[in-house]
Assembly symmetry: none
Homo-oligomer: 249 residues x 2
């Protein structure tokens, strides 16, 4: 049986019974429990179900579409998320922009952490739902159906009413000379506003975005305090940022 078939059957089962059990699937699909476990993990990463000990159950029915687009570069983003955690302390006020990387960071937070998170990202909201001690403030505005976030005048104005300890900035492009840039004008404005109102800027970028640029300027490279990628800080392309006074992780 093809792997794709297996995944399909698992999804079908879940739709039918609201749950699947590891051993049952192993028997039904004629593969080891290890494989089933890996399959479930994969589907879980795509947000199609929720992996639990011993099997899987239906994930959140409320916003399934938010999660479906997050399955790109999952591994790198998880590495970045782990690196971010050392900067986040209980009780802080965190401003987070919209993006799959910032969402991955939220997913990596310990379930009992106490924080205030301010964001304009709907996927982040759906993650933080399950964090009882995280106080969430959502920034309103015009819905952007591509980024699943709000933008526009009201969004910018609302951001200016906050002072955050940390700004978590998932970014489109970063280049030592050009600085941070975005391919969406409205989002670049949001990023700017977030940077201006935060004490400490942590930029999150997968390594392939380093050295690239987009049409809309956000800020100079040294406008950020930390740059986090999934690679080791000693990688050649990153040392330039270090020399510019940016902490590389």
């Amino acid at each position: 049986m093809l792997k794709a078939e297996r995944l399909q059957k698992i999804v079908e089962q879940i739709a039918k019974d609201n749950k699947v059990i590891l051993d049952d699937l192993s028997l039904l699909l004629n593969v080891s429990t290890d494989t089933v476990r890996r399959d479930i993990k994969e589907l879980s990463d795509k947000g199609l179900l929720k992996a639990v000990r011993g099997g899987a159950i239906m994930g959140s029915q409320v916003h399934p579409h938010f999660k479906e687009r997050q399955h790109i570069d999952t591994q790198q983003k998880k590495v970045i998320a782990q690196k971010v955690l050392e900067f986040i302390k209980s009780g802080q006020v965190i401003l987070a922009n919209a993006g799959t990387t910032t969402t991955a960071v939220m997913e990596a937070l310990p379930k009992d952490i106490t924080l205030t998170v301010i964001t304009n990202s709907f996927p982040i909201i759906s993650v933080l739902e399950d964090y009882p001690n995280v106080n969430v403030f959502f920034i309103g505005g015009q819905l952007n159906k591509h980024s699943f976030s709000t933008t526009g005048y009201e969004t910018i104005e609302a951001i200016r009413n906050f002072r955050a300890d940390i700004c978590l900035l998932g970014i489109c492009s970063i280049d030592l000379k050009v600085g941070l840039t975005d391919f969406d004008y409205q989002e670049s404005l949001v990023d700017r506003a977030m940077i201006e109102t935060s004490k400490y800027i942590i930029a999150l970028s997968t390594y392939d975005k380093v050295g690239t640029s987009d049409p809309y300027y956000v800020c100079a490279a040294n406008g950020i305090d930390v740059l986090i990628t999934e690679k080791d800080p000693s990688v050649a392309d990153l040392v330039g940022f270090k020399d510019a006074g940016i902490l590389i992780k």
Copy 2:
């Protein structure tokens, strides 16, 4: 049975009966009371219920979580949604509050309709994503994890910046003498603000909420223009509203 299933069932029970008893659960779920106790502790840590001697009761919020409410009375809500459609014309500006009924209305909209929708409800956003001609404005504010909506000062202020043609108001309780009331103070304030800034108020209520009341006042019964339930307008309990000048559908 999976542990995750057990936890779900406990939460369901609590939502239904407002309480659970250790021994009952132990029997129902086929696990020792020790395990049930540990499950309850876990859920209690997440804030989903309050552990007490001998079992558990509902936490601070009296009403069940949106995820659970979403699946009750679905049929009635669909009937209501269909009735609402005749009031909604292309090009209008609609203000919608948070609730499973208003969400059901959005789901019933024709996919190609042109509208502007202003809301503080996250589930409505996730529905309207798929409507290419619906311009959506989200009202920011403090996240309320039970209703999946925003409330608070900023929310109220933002609402006041709009003028809507129609206000779709999913309601908690309505009584001819007491008027509209809500069980959540913050949401009652949002409802008030929405009513004040809209030209035409359509209240949506399943029939079982007619004649009931909650602690927080929203507006007088005749403060609304239309009342829509799943029942026929000729039903005895509804004619009183008709006499008060409210259109019943």
